[in-house]
C-alpha cells in the first residue's frame, strides 16, 4: 500500500506492507535508527516519536496508520542549523543518560511533556514518565533535565 507522510520536514511516499510496524519502517526503510526498539511490547518507550506533535510508541502502530501524518523522530528534534532542542540541551547539562539506549524515547517524551505541561513539578514528571524505562540512570538526571526544560518553557 502506498503511504505519503512527512518525516522531519521531508515529505515522502513509500510502498509498504500493511503489517509493517512504524518503528521498523523508520529504522529499516528510512534508516532513521535513532528510534530504538527496546521491548516491542509497548512498555519501554524507547521507540517514542511525535505523530502530529503527540508522543506515541512507534512499535505499536502500523506504518499505514501514519499515512498523511507529520512525524518527528529524534533525528529531527534539533533545528536544521544544529541548535539542540531545550530538552536535549538539558539532558546534557543534567547528565540525563548513561548508555543512551532509552535516551531517544526519553527526550521525545520529555519534549512532549514540556509542550503540554510547562512548569511541571517533579511528581508530575515522574508520573508522566511511567511509559519510559531506563536500566541505567535511576531516573534522577532524566527527571532533573525535564524539570529544567519545563521551567524554562514556562519562563519564556
Amino acid at each position: 500500500m502506498n503511504i505519503t507522510l512527512t518525516v522531519n520536514g521531508q515529505t515522502l511516499t513509500r510502498d509498504v506492507a500493511p503489517y509493517l510496524l512504524l518503528a521498523d519502517f523508520l529504522r529499516d526503510e528510512l534508516r532513521l535508527t535513532g528510534t530504538h526498539v527496546g521491548c516491542d511490547t509497548t512498555q519501554c518507550g524507547c521507540c517514542i516519536i511525535h505523530l502530529n506533535e503527540k508522543a506515541v510508541k512507534s512499535c505499536t502502530m502500523l506504518a499505514v496508520q501514519a499515512d498523511g501524518a507529520q512525524l518527528t523522530t529524534i533525528e529531527g528534534l534539533a533545528r536544521a542549523d544544529g541548535t539542540l532542542h531545550p530538552v536535549q540541551e538539558a539532558f546534557r547539562d543534567h547528565h540525563g543518560l548513561q548508555c543512551g539506549f532509552c535516551t531517544p524515547g526519553m527526550v521525545m517524551m520529555g519534549a512532549d511533556i514540556v509542550r503540554r505541561l510547562p512548569g511541571a513539578d517533579e511528581e508530575t514528571i515522574r508520573h508522566q514518565l511511567e511509559g519510559n524505562i531506563c536500566r541505567c540512570t535511576g531516573y534522577q538526571g532524566i527527571v532533573e533535565a525535564i524539570m529544567d526544560a519545563s521551567s524554562q518553557a514556562k519562563a519564556s
Binding site: A17, L21, T42, E130
Partner: protein, 264 residues
C-alpha cells in the same frame, strides 16, 4: 505478525459492508490492545478495518443533560477536555490515569469498552456513571453490557459509536494501580445521582460489577462509615500473581471508603 488486508473506510456503511464480506475481520481503533495481540500471534485476523478516518466517531459534545464521547476519542482528549472536566471531573481523572501518556494518545474509549479487560479503568466509569453504549444498531445500558471476562453484550460485527454519560451530582474514582502495567488491580467509581448512589468496581472480578449491599448502605447514609463491616465475597473475585481475591476484596472496600470520603 501475520499478513492481513488493511481497510480504511470513511463511513460506517462501508465498515458494515467490509465486515460482511471478509472471512475473519477485526476492527482497529487505537491498536493499543489489538496490535500487541497480533504481535504475539494470539489473533490472526484476515482483515483489519481501521476506524480512524470515520469523522463522526471522533469528538466530545454535550447533548441536553448528557455528555457524548465518540468511540474513537483517545484517552488524552477525554482527560484534557474542559467539557468533560466541567461535567464530571472524575471521568477526566480516570482517563488521565490510564497507562502512560503515549498510550493515552492512541488508545480510545470505544476500544477499551469493547475489549472489556477485567483490569481496565473505563468499565468502572461506564457502569458507575450509568452510561449508555451506543452502537451502529442500538443503545445498550451499562448494566447489561459487561457480561464476563473480556465478554460484552456486543454482537459479532456490532460497532460502538459513542458513549453517553448522564451528569452525576458528584463522583470520584479511586484506583490501586499496578505499578508496572498501570492497569487497575482494583478501581472503584462512586457516583451520586438524585435519590441513588452507584458504585462500580473494576479489576477485582471477571468484569466490572456493582455490589448491591454497598450501594444500599450508601444510599441510606452517604458516609465512609456506612461501609464499615461490609464485605465483598472473595469467591466471586479474581486471584492472580499480583493479588489474591481476599486482598482485592479488602482493597475495594478501602478504595470505596476513600472515594466516599472525598465526596461527602
Amino acid at each position: 505478525m501475520q499478513a492481513f488486508t488493511y481497510h480504511r473506510p470513511t463511513d460506517l456503511t462501508e465498515v458494515v459492508k467490509i465486515l460482511a464480506d471478509c472471512e475473519d475481520p477485526k476492527l482497529l481503533a487505537g491498536g493499543m490492545t489489538l496490535l500487541p495481540t497480533l504481535k504475539q500471534r494470539l489473533a490472526a485476523p484476515s482483515d483489519l478495518i481501521d476506524l480512524a478516518r470515520i469523522q463522526n466517531l471522533h469528538g466530545i459534545c454535550e447533548d441536553k443533560s448528557e455528555i457524548v464521547i465518540g468511540a474513537m476519542t483517545c484517552h488524552a482528549d477525554v482527560a484534557a477536555s474542559a467539557l468533560v472536566r466541567a461535567f464530571c471531573p472524575a471521568l477526566a481523572d480516570l482517563a488521565g490515569q490510564i497507562g502512560d501518556p503515549a498510550v493515552r494518545h492512541r488508545g480510545t474509549i470505544g476500544g477499551s469498552v469493547a475489549n472489556a479487560d477485567p483490569a481496565a479503568d473505563y468499565p468502572a466509569a461506564v457502569l458507575g456513571l450509568n452510561a449508555i453504549i451506543e452502537t451502529n444498531q442500538r443503545r445498550i445500558k451499562a448494566d447489561d453490557f459487561f457480561t464476563d471476562l473480556f465478554e460484552t453484550a456486543l454482537e459479532p460485527g456490532e460497532i460502538i459509536t459513542a458513549l453517553r454519560f448522564p451528569r452525576p451530582h458528584k463522583a470520584q474514582y479511586q484506583k490501586f494501580r499496578h505499578p508496572a502495567s498501570g492497569y487497575a488491580v482494583v478501581g472503584v467509581m462512586v457516583a451520586q445521582f438524585a435519590g441513588a448512589t452507584r458504585l462500580a468496581i473494576t479489576g477485582a472480578g471477571p468484569n466490572a460489577f456493582r455490589p448491591a449491599a454497598l450501594e444500599e448502605a450508601l444510599t441510606r447514609s452517604f458516609t465512609a462509615k456506612a461501609l464499615e463491616g461490609l464485605q465483598l465475597d472473595p469467591d466471586e473475585l479474581l486471584s492472580d500473581m499480583h493479588a489474591s481475591a481476599a486482598y482485592r476484596a479488602h482493597v475495594a472496600l478501602v478504595l470505596a471508603q476513600r472515594a466516599v470520603g472525598l465526596i461527602a
